[in-house]
């Protein structure tokens, strides 16, 4: 099957006449969702230059994380990158945009303005103090504006959340929002090195590790061993 299955979460069983992939729906759906986030081109002010233009440009290249297909229509997007201040007049429109997006939808709030109101927090009669007063936010990326590397840090955090998070049995239930702030004293080289390492790690998935990660329903985990995993699973469901 080659390159594609190398990255699939699950165990690849060799049987006569081909391969059988043993995995879980949650696992594989979350993997697919995390790896192909389509952002909405939503930028209100300064952060849009850094978040949508600089990251889409050739140096930073959002395409490396599978999130470069920016859609102008909320119907086709599943990631809302809030770039720029939200003011009271824009708030109902933002809510509409969020509701028009198809489920599951994820929100990254970038910049001080969308987190708290930023420099416009005091004495402003229009600024909304934080976009989470209007829509739920999954990941906060602080900065004014954040560097493109910081958005990538936030995006990787969101991918991690998605991979670990939602299940089919409990749709919409996710981990609590996180702040994806870069630690102090970190340099550009550190981030680039870390991203390189992460990308290499993503390329080579340890199959045994993936098998260990699969948590079968109670009772089956002990009895299933190696090749007979798929049969055991089938029997378990029938019982």
């Amino acid at each position: 099957m080659g390159i594609v299955t190398d990255k699939l979460p699950g165990a690849l069983e060799k049987v006569p006449g081909g391969n059988v992939l043993v995995t879980r729906f949650d696992e594989i759906i979350n993997w697919a969702r995390a790896s192909s986030l389509w952002p909405l081109t939503f930028g209100t002010s300064c952060c849009a230059i850094e978040m949508l233009m600089a990251t889409g440009g050739p140096r930073h290249d959002l395409a490396r994380f599978g999130a470069e297909v920016a859609r102008p229509s909320p119907r086709q997007a599943d990631l809302l990158i809030l770039a720029g201040t939200i003011v009271k007049r824009m708030a109902p429109r933002l809510r509409t945009l969020y509701e028009q997006m198809a489920e599951p939808r994820y929100v990254i709030a970038t910049g001080a303005c969308t987190i708290s109101g930023g420099p416009f927090i005091y004495h402003s009669y229009t600024t909304v103090r934080g976009a989470d007063e209007i829509i739920p936010v999954d990941v906060y990326v602080p900065g004014c504006p954040p560097r493109p590397e910081q958005l990538f840090h936030g995006l990787l955090t969101l991918q991690k959340m998605i991979k670990e998070g939602e299940t089919i049995r409990e749709p919409g239930v996710r981990r609590k929002p996180v702040i994806s702030a870069l630690p102090e004293g970190i340099t550009l080289e550190d981030i680039q090195g870390e991203m390189k390492e992460l990308l290499v790690k993503e390329n080579v998935v340890d199959v045994q590790h993936a098998v260990d990660k699969l948590k079968w329903p109670s009772g089956l985990n002990e009895s299933s061993s190696g090749d007979s995993g798929a049969n055991e699973r089938g029997a378990g469901d029938g019982a």
Partner: protein, 386 residues
């Protein structure tokens, strides 16, 4: 704003009311606030007859952050930092505009080193702003490659400025009375390297987009703005110069050290989108000329005239100061009541006036031309709404 909303409603009622003629019915289409080509959250209400634009009414306020009101609660040193967020592509020039107004009002003299560094940075920022505009214009007209070229070269320039300033976009470099920091030891060398790198790239830009037949067809004779209309509407910057009016504050009322530099002001002929395009591309060349001339003889001196505390007090009165940003004239109007905070602070932003030129430019033309014409205006929406 209420007047505008009600008038809009009346217009819609008029159009959709008792129109029983056999001709096409006029109708309204909202463009924005969430639209990929409006460069932000601008809303245009278009009155259409088929694909022809009969009226184009901008509706503002979707990013009104009340910067002018916040400024009334801040001292003059702090006001500067809000201006980066207005026209974020000419942030240093915005800082400079406020600093210039405060310095003139409070009688602070700055030395020629500060003025020279400010001028160099302003011109570098003008190049950076036009690079982004160039890429985005290509993207608006359906070509993605120019965007990649523009951003690629902008990152090179960003690195040079970041070394001194420490920020990529909202730079906060100029203060009343001087600069935040002295220039980096590498600065002069790296700027020279950049200019050596970018001159051939600009010729490449010409090969890629300027001499492209499709771009010429999309821009030539589209969105014609006559010099009379441009002056009437208060258009400034490349929009005004594209219409053939050679008015540039850098030349006509020199500030900084522009009087020491030898440069030309590119002027268009008929005022179509093509002229505005050409003026901006040519401005990048002129800006590089200015930087080259000033770079070798930055005079010695301090980067801050004296350690200013936040209590700059301005004598009672009204003060106005203006300079040329990448988009036109940014004016700063201060009303002082002898305190360390302004009584009223008003910004005359270039984009606001340039925006209203859109309707006379595009009346009777196609919607597709509207996108190209609006892109040639190079609007930054937070500067309009403030």
């Amino acid at each position: 704003m209420t007047v505008e909303v009600s008038s809009l409603k009346e217009l819609v009622e008029q159009a959709s009311g008792d129109d029983r003629s056999p001709d096409t019915q006029e109708y309204f289409v909202n463009m924005g606030p969430q639209h990929p080509s409006t460069h932000g959250v601008l809303r245009l209400v278009l009155k259409l007859d088929g694909e022809r634009v009969l009226r184009c009414i901008p509706v503002l306020g979707y990013i009104h952050r009340s910067i002018e009101k916040i400024s009334e609660h801040m001292n003059y040193m702090n006001c500067v930092h809000l201006t980066d967020r207005m026209d974020y592509l000419s942030s240093i020039m915005n800082n400079w505009a406020v600093s210039k107004a405060v310095e003139e009002a409070a009688g602070i003299e700055v030395n020629s080193r500060i003025q020279t560094i400010r001028t160099i940075f302003a011109e570098l920022e003008r190049i950076q702003s036009h690079q982004l505009w160039w890429g985005v214009l290509g993207m608006d007209l359906g070509a993605f490659t120019p965007f990649l070229y523009g951003i690629r070269d902008r990152e090179v320039l960003n690195d040079v400025m970041e070394e001194t300033v420490g920020a990529r976009l909202t730079m906060n470099y100029v203060l009343p009375g001087g600069l935040m920091a002295d220039i980096h030891p590498n600065f002069v060398h790296r700027v020279k390297e950049f200019i050596k790198y970018f001159r051939p790239k600009l010729d490449e830009y010409d090969d890629l987009l300027t001499n492209n037949v499709i771009i010429q067809e999309r821009l030539r004779n589209v969105g014609i703005l006559s010099p009379q209309t441009a002056v009437q509407y208060g258009a400034t910057g490349p929009v005004l110069r594209g219409s053939g009016v050679a008015f540039d504050l850098r030349k006509d009322h020199p500030y900084g050290v522009y009087d020491q530099a030898d440069f030309e002001v590119p002027v268009g002929t008929i005022g179509d989108s093509w002229d505005r395009y050409w003026v901006r591309v040519e401005e990048m060349r002129q800006s590089m000329n200015i930087v080259e001339q000033l770079l070798d003889n930055i005079p010695p001196g301090d980067f801050l005239v004296k350690k200013l505390n936040s209590k700059i007090k301005i004598p009672e009165g009204r003060y106005y100061s203006q300079l040329e940003t990448a988009r036109g004239i940014l004016g700063v109007f201060i009303v002082s009541d002898k305190k360390d905070e302004p009584y009223r602070m008003h910004y005359r932003s270039p984009n606001f006036n340039n925006l209203w030129c859109l309707e006379p430019m595009i009346k009777g033309d196609y919607i597709a031309s509207l996108i190209g014409a609006m892109s040639s205006l190079d609007l930054v929406i937070p500067d309009i709404d403030r």
